[in-house]
Amino acid sequence: MTSIADPISGTQLADAKDASAAVAAAPAITMPTTSERELRLDLFRGLALWLIFIDHLPTNILTWLTIRNYGFSDATEIFIFISGYTAAFVYGRAMLQAGFVVATARILRRVWQIYVAHVFLFTIFLAEISYVATRFENPLYTEEMGIMDFLKQPDVTIVQALLLRFRPVNMDVLPLYIVLMLFLPLILWLMKWRTDVTLALSAGLYVLTWHFDLYLSAYPNGVWAFNPFAWQLLFVFGAWCALGGARRMSRILASPITLWICIAYLFAAFLVTLSWYLPQLGHIVPRRIEQWMYPINKTDLDVLRFAHFLALAAITVRVLPRDWPGLKSPWLRPLILCGQHSLEIFCLGVFLAFAGHFILAEVSGGAGIHFLVSVTGIVIMCAMAWVISWYKHSADKGAARYKSAGGNADLAGGAV
């Protein structure tokens, strides 16, 4: 049994001194000390990026491969959890080695990068929507074209977009991530004091969110599609796992009881999901359970979704050991590369989804073209990941020196 936290225990010689210093400085937690990447994290983050891209495109054959069709949770959960894990892994070490101020400064620089990326995507969205608004006339959709009305007040809309309150469809993940990262210094500082208390506080905030209906309002009305008060739980849980929690859980994870509970839950979730697509199966879900269960709230990270993610993660960690040879296989290389440059690839994915919509609208094509657009998008994402990786390792000459100076936080911290 290998837990997701294994890189932490695999201390390398060079880092041994740091490790002991770290332990001395912060008895509450064991800080990551190895510089070896956890390829499983990259793999699944890459997978999450592909799935998010596919889910953002109009429905096509590939959509049926995305996990949201087989249970409650979807790629967003994977993405936020792994982001919390890697962010804590990278910046937690920075906090121990360089102190709170330096780590905070690095985190804020990262926040700024994500914010700029978000604004960049918004600009592309504006370009697309303005084009559609002026070129598209279909009497069937006069009502839906009402969405363009915001173009009539750019003074308000664009300012609201910069304040992260106005967000077009499919652009909700980065604002959530910005808010979560903003609070990362506080989270890490608390974790340095007491890891478990921090997780308990996070769960407490989650409960309060549900109890008092906490939310962030959006423009022109409504709320943030991903409520940061609720989704922080997944992020903090990721951080908790990175900072030793996963290793302490390894006995629970290894138990066959856990395995069977997870399998039973995933199967039940699968049946429920199936009943959405095949109304004939509606009767398999008892009415009382239905009333208690629905609606499964994505905005506030429904407990059912969280549990579904946990079950998936528990089984994944069990089935895929850390030293699984497949991780080095060239077939999985594209996924891992995408996962290693997640901010860039995420943004590219959102852009490609816009572009894909656009192409599908201009070139009226059937299922074949839809499939082609999806596959092309994924190929472009992989190629871009490869180019970025080449830049970091070869073109950027300072990279190697920078890395050896112990500052590979930002390199590894493709921490979106």
Partner: protein, 252 residues
């Protein structure tokens, strides 16, 4: 790893098969076929059945937003086509139909007016098309849900049958309007109140996938809208008759 690849391959083939099956089944002559499962409902329309069986007139009231009409061709929009199709299927029944368009009104706005409308028009059946305005304005899905529940409750209290009609499938604005929370809530709410839901979204989606209509294209003018509405009206008529369990005996 090997088995993973095989599973992927298997799933892909299955998906290809599933997505191709309806297209193959579709008869090329018959444009805009709707697969039976998209018109299946467990809920029934008792008032409609009663009216038709006892020879009463069938009064239908369509409450909807702008997607329930075609600008400057109201007679070709789906409510008018529904009336025509109902008359054709129920020749011995008088079918009256009125349309109450509430453009740019959210579900909450409309729900408040429903009781008054029903008192004024005394319909047997209210067809409530909603959700689009809420999706465009990104209304809080919880508020949407409670407005929907309140509206359906008021209609049932007033003693009419209810059919919900959800959003249009609009691929061109899919990257701008997030319809899924509203579609989900309508499905759940319909199920809870035991009200038939006419899944306009899934039906139009099917037509687009099967190649009956190219809903992506901007090239088509008002003709496309008319054809889509004609098909929607026919499908809705079939849906109403099935949900009222009116066999051929009553239809004559």
């Amino acid at each position: 790893m090997k088995s993973g690849l095989w599973t992927m391959l298997g799933l892909t083939l299955l998906a290809v098969y599933l997505s191709a099956a309806p297209a193959r089944a579709g008869d090329p002559e018959q444009i805009c076929d709707v697969p039976a499962n998209l018109l299946a409902t467990e809920s029934s329309l008792r008032k409609v059945a009663e009216a038709v069986r006892s020879g009463q007139p069938l009064n239908v009231l369509v409450v909807g937003s702008r997607s329930s009409t075609i600008p400057s061709s109201e007679a070709s929009a789906y409510p008018a086509k529904l009336q025509a199709a109902l008359k054709e299927s129920l020749p011995s029944t008088t079918v009256n139909l009125s349309v109450e368009l509430q453009g740019a009104k959210t579900t909450a706005d409309t729900a408040d007016t429903l009781v008054k409308l029903v008192e004024a028009k005394r319909p047997t059946l209210v067809i409530w098309q909603t959700g689009t305005v809420d999706a465009i304005r990104a209304t809080d899905p919880d508020d949407f849900r409670s407005a929907l529940d309140a509206g359906i409750g008021a209609l049932q209290q007033a003693g009419t049958d209810v059919v919900l009609v959800n959003l249009q499938y609009s691929p061109r604005t899919e990257s701008m309007i997030s319809g899924s929370p509203y579609l989900d809530n309508m499905r759940v709410s319909a199920h809870e109140h035991d009200v038939p839901l006419f899944d306009r979204f899934a039906i139009m989606h099917h037509w687009n996938d099967a190649g009956d209509f190219d809903l992506f294209s901007s090239a088509h003018g008002v003709e496309l809208a008319k054809r889509v509405h004609a098909c929607l009206g026919r499908a809705l008529s079939k849906f109403v008759i099935d949900a009222a369990h009116l066999g051929p005996a009553q239809q004559n």
